[in-house]
Symmetry: D2
Subunit: 448 residues, 4 copies
Amino acid sequence: MATSFLNDLMQTLSDRGRSWIGRPREAARPGDLAELGDALLSRRGEASGVVLARALLDGYAAAPLAARLAFLTALADRFGPDRERLDRAIAAYQADPTARAMHELQEAAEPRRQELVRRLNLAPGGTAALVRMRQELLGHLKSRPDLAEVDRDFTHLLSSWFNRGFLVLRPIDWTTPANILERIIRYEAVHAIDGWEDLRRRLEPADRRCYAFFHPQLVDKPLIFVEVALTNGIPRAIAPLLDSNRLPQRAEDADTAVFYSISNTQKGLAGVSFGHFLIKQVVEELKRDLPNLKTFVTLSPVPGFARWLDSERRLDHSRYFNADAKEVLSALDTPGWHQDKAIAERVRAELLPAAAAYFLRARSPGGRPVDPVARFHLGNGARLEFLNFLGDLSEKGLSQAHGLMVNYRYDLDEIERNHELYAEKGDVVAAPGVRKLVKAEAPVRELA
Amino acid sequence: MATSFLNDLMQTLSDRGRSWIGRPREAARPGDLAELGDALLSRRGEASGVVLARALLDGYAAAPLAARLAFLTALADRFGPDRERLDRAIAAYQADPTARAMHELQEAAEPRRQELVRRLNLAPGGTAALVRMRQELLGHLKSRPDLAEVDRDFTHLLSSWFNRGFLVLRPIDWTTPANILERIIRYEAVHAIDGWEDLRRRLEPADRRCYAFFHPQLVDKPLIFVEVALTNGIPRAIAPLLDSNRLPQRAEDADTAVFYSISNTQKGLAGVSFGHFLIKQVVEELKRDLPNLKTFVTLSPVPGFARWLDSERRLDHSRYFNADAKEVLSALDTPGWHQDKAIAERVRAELLPAAAAYFLRARSPGGRPVDPVARFHLGNGARLEFLNFLGDLSEKGLSQAHGLMVNYRYDLDEIERNHELYAEKGDVVAAPGVRKLVKAEAPVRELA
Amino acid sequence: MATSFLNDLMQTLSDRGRSWIGRPREAARPGDLAELGDALLSRRGEASGVVLARALLDGYAAAPLAARLAFLTALADRFGPDRERLDRAIAAYQADPTARAMHELQEAAEPRRQELVRRLNLAPGGTAALVRMRQELLGHLKSRPDLAEVDRDFTHLLSSWFNRGFLVLRPIDWTTPANILERIIRYEAVHAIDGWEDLRRRLEPADRRCYAFFHPQLVDKPLIFVEVALTNGIPRAIAPLLDSNRLPQRAEDADTAVFYSISNTQKGLAGVSFGHFLIKQVVEELKRDLPNLKTFVTLSPVPGFARWLDSERRLDHSRYFNADAKEVLSALDTPGWHQDKAIAERVRAELLPAAAAYFLRARSPGGRPVDPVARFHLGNGARLEFLNFLGDLSEKGLSQAHGLMVNYRYDLDEIERNHELYAEKGDVVAAPGVRKLVKAEAPVRELA
Amino acid sequence: MATSFLNDLMQTLSDRGRSWIGRPREAARPGDLAELGDALLSRRGEASGVVLARALLDGYAAAPLAARLAFLTALADRFGPDRERLDRAIAAYQADPTARAMHELQEAAEPRRQELVRRLNLAPGGTAALVRMRQELLGHLKSRPDLAEVDRDFTHLLSSWFNRGFLVLRPIDWTTPANILERIIRYEAVHAIDGWEDLRRRLEPADRRCYAFFHPQLVDKPLIFVEVALTNGIPRAIAPLLDSNRLPQRAEDADTAVFYSISNTQKGLAGVSFGHFLIKQVVEELKRDLPNLKTFVTLSPVPGFARWLDSERRLDHSRYFNADAKEVLSALDTPGWHQDKAIAERVRAELLPAAAAYFLRARSPGGRPVDPVARFHLGNGARLEFLNFLGDLSEKGLSQAHGLMVNYRYDLDEIERNHELYAEKGDVVAAPGVRKLVKAEAPVRELA
Ligand SMILES: [Mg+2]
Ligand SMILES: [Mg+2]
């Protein structure tokens, strides 16, 4: 039953020990990798485990798509819980629900793939390989709902390994190694970086900062990074911040730190959240280095606004605006509307209240704010500070949010409370200026 | 129901945010810490989680014994699985054993303490605090068998966090920071280090090496370390190796690396094994640095030998030796026996075969070798190379092993195979010279 | 007499101590800086010296050209030796030439600018500022021969501070900080680097290396760097080495290390030589890391060849070639000559002997080889290994050397001897294949 | 004429290149090393220079005393200036005193040993070897005044290489490598450190700091270090500071930093001063880290006081005290005098005015304060703040200063001015409380 691939490997293993590693070998066929997984799980000790784990991960990386997908499928159906053991454990538990019986029940219910993935992680480079494997898995999820349980187990294990306690914050600047900087260029997701000179403009000036989280197992890969501008006062538009002709100021003269871009780099770690730890730690770091900084805000995109607004405008009876408003907002359908000052002023009068409603009233079916960036910052305990009309005139800014940007404010003294209100009651904490824009009845939480 | 401790904390939390941290406060009373655990588990988000986790760990560290024990007890009975949810999950699974149902079953069967410990790990210094907490837990296990399940969960989580992929090997030498070196002095478990000058003799000479594993979360704490002597030929006794008057030789002239001491430092990580990874990695490191090294062996104590031998001698019918042998071995009961050359020679003739039987024949009730050090090295794939009569004349050496020491040999080309034989069949691989000493019938595995 | 600039400074110095530093102030006028120099030299202690040194260097950097040139001029005429003291010292020495008298004579003869420059070096960033000052000085030398003595003193002091004992060799690769890499791009002097992607092709592939010397006082400035390609066999042309489509090979499979570019970065350190230390240390480093490397050669330009050849061709009676040869070589005057295969072959037959003569016979008025790159490598103890016809078809290669490149070989076992022969007798050590090309009479040293 | 030692070396050099290095060889005889020096100076290039330099330094280290002393003597008489060249240069200068002629005069007057020592510095480890050579030289100076000029040249060159710009300040603490810490133990010159536990008490507590200067060429050797205690208020006695039972306080609660011990480690760098740079840089470092620190003082010994006082007491007519005072001070001759409270009080009344006179009036023949520690701190710009009666009851403290200690205060705002007053006019700046103690007539500078 064992295929030649596995036979070959096992033979090498017992004959010549470690020396087989690195040898070219037949590519794995569908089924081979799962057999290797069985072998890895069946060994009692750890001595050969690292060798097998490495073989499986190398084999996976070199295998054709069909063999890789076969392995992911095997994770779902072949490496689930041991059903017989599980049924016995249930029976024992129901007969006598001791702590011991509950423990056995939990162990029996644990899919065997969890232990398999743990053992794979022992191979050199195992963590990185597993993050890549999960990235591939995520790509299949839509068409292969049966892999969802496999993904849950990956999330469970990756969350444990990438928990905040193991992450290290490091400044990114113009003295950072080039192999790390090139990843900053590649993964910037909010305001694209156009090559090394553009990168330098974001890192080198005295009033710029950048920080990233690293994990000891992925030393040269920033997991998530935030770009910061030091300013006087809260900026309401992105273009002046990124203007290549602007004059930098001394960091010691700034009173405000602006988080204008936050990007994740590892798709394979989706759902393993560390963004909010990053922001809080950066706030503390900046406060310590530059006591002159008093205000910490974002300058954020509003990626869901245009879609929401446009669908509300199509409704016969929007809760949020009447026919007059709709009439005014129909100007948005004409490209270049914002360049006509008069039109823009009329749009502003309707768009800002609509935006306030978007944040404070509109809710997803799950009862949470519609905007994903809002959910992130509000969930972190930030408050919605300003709505910025025409804050982003880039093509992307106009198409996703009709140019709207917002500031979320991080005040360490109220983060915990805001977070509690949001997490427990769904309250969105907003500055008075934003709340006033909501025209109507429904109560919105006062700022203390 | 919430105590004043928790009330106080929660109040501070919502009123003044993070600023409460570090304030002196009433010590926790029994029950307080468990309530804090409930609060930590009940929060949906992570924002206040770090604060609560830190409060609980600080509170635990400052609490009196009774309150600490109360918390450990609560982990066992209050933070087990949610029984109602578990029963529902079993019913659903039995109705329809879908992947989803199995997943829910596993989650329901997971004791709530696992998630609690994961959240505690998010606090700054959380990992170190949890390792200390487990060390205390281990101390209670004998008298409190009900805590065994708690310990199993700790082992599960610590194994995940301290898996080999996250460990970093570093050389320890005379340029190592003093705060790390003082731990080497303190934790050396095999041949005690008598102060800084003695330490220097083990680190500074050209023919000495030392390596340790570190974890990113416990940066200044070596988890396990091994001391190495570079020699010509395999040494058969410890005293010349540690002689303070010996003349060091050039590392480039040695052909043998001797692991003469391996020590764990963190009691709280008992059962989380990384020793065998250490040895293999050190062998590879040394091979690369010093291609002249051809042989890698230990010079090891035999901590269980005297006890085993003495109890065999008390048996009426030992499987291993007859009346004549017993008569000769009775010399061991007279202190100083080894100083009489004639007696020593007679003892040698009987003691070495007895030692061969101890390693190759004698088995624990579980079917494994009696000697714990043997189990470690054989489980790593080493082979038993030499038995060294009167290799350790120290008080400890004489009392635990009648002076016997042994060498285990690490040959990277046969480690995997030896390990397989040992792990799968229980075979002990030994050099011919050792095997020949076994007088009798039962087959002992040949060395290829 | 003291100007307001100096008065202002002195006042601040005594009134408010250090706090004046960093304040904007009137730019220095001609004369101000020299007065500051007098003040710095006249202080007995060091306490205010650093402040004055910093003021002078900051003042120099901010001063207009006229004031800077005035200061350099003052170094020449105002900060020469103290003539009265010198005359007294001569008299004393001539009266009684004791060791003491000679010492006083030497001190009296030392220009006061030496001590001034030493004191300037005490300011933070002083070394870098002095290197820049010397760079400016070098630019004036042609038109201002009176500054030559000042330059000699700079050379004396900089040679002392930048002596080889204080230089640190570091590898440059794709993990090197970006601020250092940008200097590699900027200062590459032999084969220009066209941006970051081109740089990456020189650093990241497995068969590329780069090393630089750094000085502790100029931490982020590589002083000199060498780019290395690992190859099989000695390459005879540059284009394949730099081809962006080439396939890298494993470093462990190469047998040859090729130094194909060496660049100095600090014009202000001209004449302070460390190039040959760099090459020897890199050879040793590479040998240790990659024992497979057996051959160490350069692939070098021949910057003086075309000029020399063309002037020889214009002579009525060249020592090196006759009318036929001249006729053939006249093809060189037609752009694109090398693309005609037949012409190129004919040129080769005359050009290579001419090149051999250029290296082995032709001498500068001072009796040394004409080619500056040859002087560098031969002076280091390398030997001339190969002449490579059409090794460099770039515009620069054709215009400066009619496409010729050469290999100099570094054999550590013969470096000292070659160097001695070259330094003591002017002998150029060349491989037999090169020597054979010299058609005529004069003896050329045999290779042992 | 060349000895076999040199012949041997030269032969190896040309035959087998670098491979001779490290071979055992005949020890150098008197004369060998000087010949090697001649060879080193006569070479034109640098290629063989490093080899020769290394041979000379290794040969010196291995040579017997006679050969070493012969080499130092040769430095004095054989490697002085080239007399013929010097006489020619003088003649040319007297004929026409051009800049060129002055330059040649200076070069001719430079002893050849300067260039020799510069070339020796190119050998690996050369700087350290030259520092050791100078240490030996210093030991001979008293009996060999003819070596004084050699020492002057060493001082000149070492001052250049160890100038402040090349020194790096680093904190020393309990995480510092052991090989550096053992030097702190060994070289502490003021209050001896009694082993590693005593060292730990000076480094590890929250209210202790230590800083050292390092040089890139002597990476593991602290050149000078200062030990600091953080206190509340200015301490007046040493014992409580070093008390092993004292309770440390938080660094953030201290208002005063006390420099209680400053030690040089390299005797071979005597006369190359960097102490005052150390103190000022440490003051700045501490101010930045701990803004709560307001006062920076020393707690210093007074090593010359007892000798001065005792000799004044022996004078018939002391300028500083009358017969009554002498009578009281005669108590000092009785060991244990300080334990009798009444006697101690009477002594205090006379001893403190005497101490004030010692600092403010008494002058060496050169017109400077008698006390060497006073000269150091006053020369740095510190002011004399307090006289502490019975501040040091240790045997050393009583014998060298009758128990007296003093505080010197470093106020960055007045350091430059104090230094100027001291350096230019010899004024000792002292606090009013000290000045008041001077009984008599002569004016002492007021504190502004
Ligand atoms: Mg788990
Ligand atoms: Mg000089």
